[in-house]
Symmetry: C3
């Protein structure tokens, strides 16, 4: 049984990845071809020629204006996936068209709809506005994960692991020690996990980017919109500094840590990560530091999750995990994913 949720929008790429080179990425087990038209629109269609299934992103396939020419026998397709020329005959069969995918460029991402295209309009695309908004500076990347998406969801929903797996980067003892509150909004399709540390050590990730040297108030407010988008609203301030009653919060540092969790196959995942901040906006040194640090942290997770995927592959059926309080958010996310996968 598949664990991949269909009829959903997924992040397929950053917009900057798609240009006038043919670009292929496997999303939820489907090999999809992306390219930009001469006018700059992103197209998404099946990466398999209808004739003999040659991948259209494989050389010597190539673009000619707003058409893509298959490198095997020259079948030629327009931006809508419809075949416009075949070799050796003038008539193009009516059924010669590539599957075309609904695609939207938003918040720096290229979103693609996996499932029944007619449903695309009725399914909202989750937002991560900070990634392309005035007043924020973002660093971002993508790491290939040789593990199922649900392992990454587990990982991100329970940040107590920062203390152990990411000690010296973003983990301090207080993360594992501080209890969480969890809120499940089935209506909106959101799981929220909140951990608010009133008096905590400041890990290098934040000390080096904010300049804070003493102990801090540290808020971790997770918002996960299954299946694809996860945001950690992170608030850092000197101990005792709280937001104003009117919601303004001028003396705190805000970081939005965004993950787009896109299944590549049943057992591998695209781990898109982005870190947006509302301070030191033009400081390239801070950008470089946060990019390097967050990538290191992501790769620590990737290494651990790749191990877990192999462990699962080798374990007997019916293996039982043991869950405790810290897992409340992760278990809620699993239930929501299960419901989405089996039809709510």
């Amino acid at each position: 049984m598949t664990s991949i949720v269909r009829n959903q929008w997924y992040v397929a790429a950053y917009g900057r990845e798609i240009g006038r080179d043919l670009f292929s990425r496997t999303i939820c087990g489907e090999s999809i071809l992306f390219w930009r038209t001469e006018a700059g629109a992103v197209t998404a269609m099946s990466d398999r020629c209808v004739h003999r299934r040659f991948p259209l992103a494989e050389k010597p396939s190539h673009l000619v204006g707003d058409t893509v020419v298959c490198g095997y026998h020259g079948f030629t397709y327009g931006a809508d996936g419809v075949c416009v020329a075949v070799p050796g005959q003038a008539r193009v069969p009516r059924t010669a068209r590539l599957r075309s995918y609904p695609v939207v460029e938003q918040d720096s991402f290229v979103w693609v709809f996996i499932g029944e295209p007619a449903l695309a309009e009725s399914v909202p695309i989750p937002r991560a506005p900070w990634l392309s908004q005035e007043g924020w500076t973002t660093v971002a990347g993508r790491e290939p994960l040789a593990a199922r998406a649900s392992l990454l969801v587990d990982n991100l929903m329970d940040l107590s692991h920062e203390t152990y797996l990411h000690g010296g980067y973003i983990g301090t003892p207080e993360v594992a020690e501080t209890p969480i509150t969890t809120e499940v909004d089935d209506e909106a399709g959101v799981v929220r996990v909140s951990r608010r540390m009133a008096d905590a050590a400041c890990p290098p990730f934040y000390a080096n980017s904010t300049g804070l040297t003493g102990r801090i108030t540290r808020w971790q407010d997770i918002e996960y919109q299954p299946p694809c988008l996860y945001t950690l609203h992170s608030r850092i301030a000197p101990v005792g500094v709280l937001p104003n009653d009117d919601g303004t919060d001028p003396d705190a540092f805000h970081v939005e840590v965004v993950y787009a969790i896109t299944p590549e196959t049943e057992h591998s995942t695209h781990d898109f990560w982005a870190v947006a901040r509302d301070f030191a906006l033009d400081d390239q040194g801070v950008s470089d530091f946060l990019a390097e640090s967050n990538r290191t942290v992501v790769l620590q997770d990737v290494a651990a999750l790749n191990v877990l995927e192999q462990v699962i592959a080798g374990e007997p059926d019916g293996y039982q995990e043991l869950s405790i309080n810290i897992d409340t958010g992760g278990l809620a996310a699993r239930r929501m994913l299960d419901r989405l996968a089996t039809g709510r």
Copy 2:
């Protein structure tokens, strides 16, 4: 269900590959040991010792005169596969004999019969006389293909792909543009596909070997004898130059492009290729050029077909191709192969 046709002759090797070193090759999933007797005859027998299945081509197995000695426990076999000595006892069990294969050396190839040996005599061995005939010079090679044999058959039966996959080598626009005629001879077990271009550009493959500089008459007459032997009778001449009424054709250049398509396993293939020409017979420069060019073209096919094999491995069941006029020959070949595989 297997797609491999049995009770057929297949090319296992070039004669020059078999000598006094033990040589093993997997043909249609069977691991076969080849070596020459002191008198020069090629032998073919199972490459598995009857005792504990040690491969007889694996060191320290070795030849002693006209016997092969297993490198694990010393079981010793004659050229007919019959065991003549075992360790620790004088009596050799009567059932100790390796499976022996009918084998024929012909047209530079070593042919082996896969299936019921008693049927070997009743199945004709296809001929490729140019490869070892006075008046012809041949260059040849073998490339491993990590794809099922039927993908290579598809490839070779539809040469419109030359225009796209082999542009700059043997492809020109006229190949894809020119319609084909197809002839299926179920009685003889032959599929013929013919494409005759009256006025075509001369691709580098022929320009550099024949010296022709202008436009040419180019005939591509394919003859495929499923499952193993494929020949492209290629005729190149200046535009307007046709054979004489008596069949003689002194002013044209003739090239016989031969492929032996031998399944290694269900999903891998030995791609034997040979190019025989009736001109520039002693010109080593032409030989070197044709060998290098044809190998390049073969490797372009290999790369594309290896991709297709992976695509098929990853695609859902029931994937549907779309076929057009250029596929007539390939589809006829598939039908003939199906009939052979399931028993005609």
Copy 3:
């Protein structure tokens, strides 16, 4: 169906391999964590955290005193495998404990009991006293074998292969030529195979270590205690020199070649080998020579058996071997292993 015999003691490691670093080895398909307490005792427990199955031998998991801390979320376990701390809450769930394995250090080996722990006391641990006894000097190693354990049992029970696979090291023509006697003691669970050569060439393995230059009396007395322990009692002496009537044997050289055969998985094996001698006890040159020679011989076996595993993986079901007299011991060992696997 598994071929691995359970409810048995297996060699998991040499004692010297286990210290204050976390050490994991897969034994009979179970991933087991080993470490020594501060007092020096060897512990053996499941290498999977009960929480989210993270391997406890994987960094950043680490020892703190006599506890092991999981590197993912900090679950902490004592030497008995019982969890003593979890993150974010004071209460440790009662069921939070790792599976613990009976473990005994003996004869230089760490033995672990695979199966129902309650049965461990009733199953005797085979002995190899020479490996840690006054009056003997031992060289030892371990090679990973990518083949099922039964192939190594076959190999070791039939030493006629020394003549072919190990010619120039320990094989001479007499080994394959000399008949064996086999004795099966079902009660004690032992198979004995004896080959006594009265007048044989001395292979380099013994010539270079004993200094004997002429022909020798060579006894090979095999004792196999399925599933794990194999000993070759090897006696070398000048031709005609026999033990005294009282059993003393001062003019012979004795070598105990011990193999512990421990399945890693169904298709891979830990090949522990040790060579103990009662001569040249302090001669480092002899130790180096025997270590290097025996490792070479073991690697020759490993190479051959790895090939056989691949052969078996590729062969059709129902493949039939042919056995002869030399296989009597090996076939007896297989029967005993089968009985142990299916319950005697």
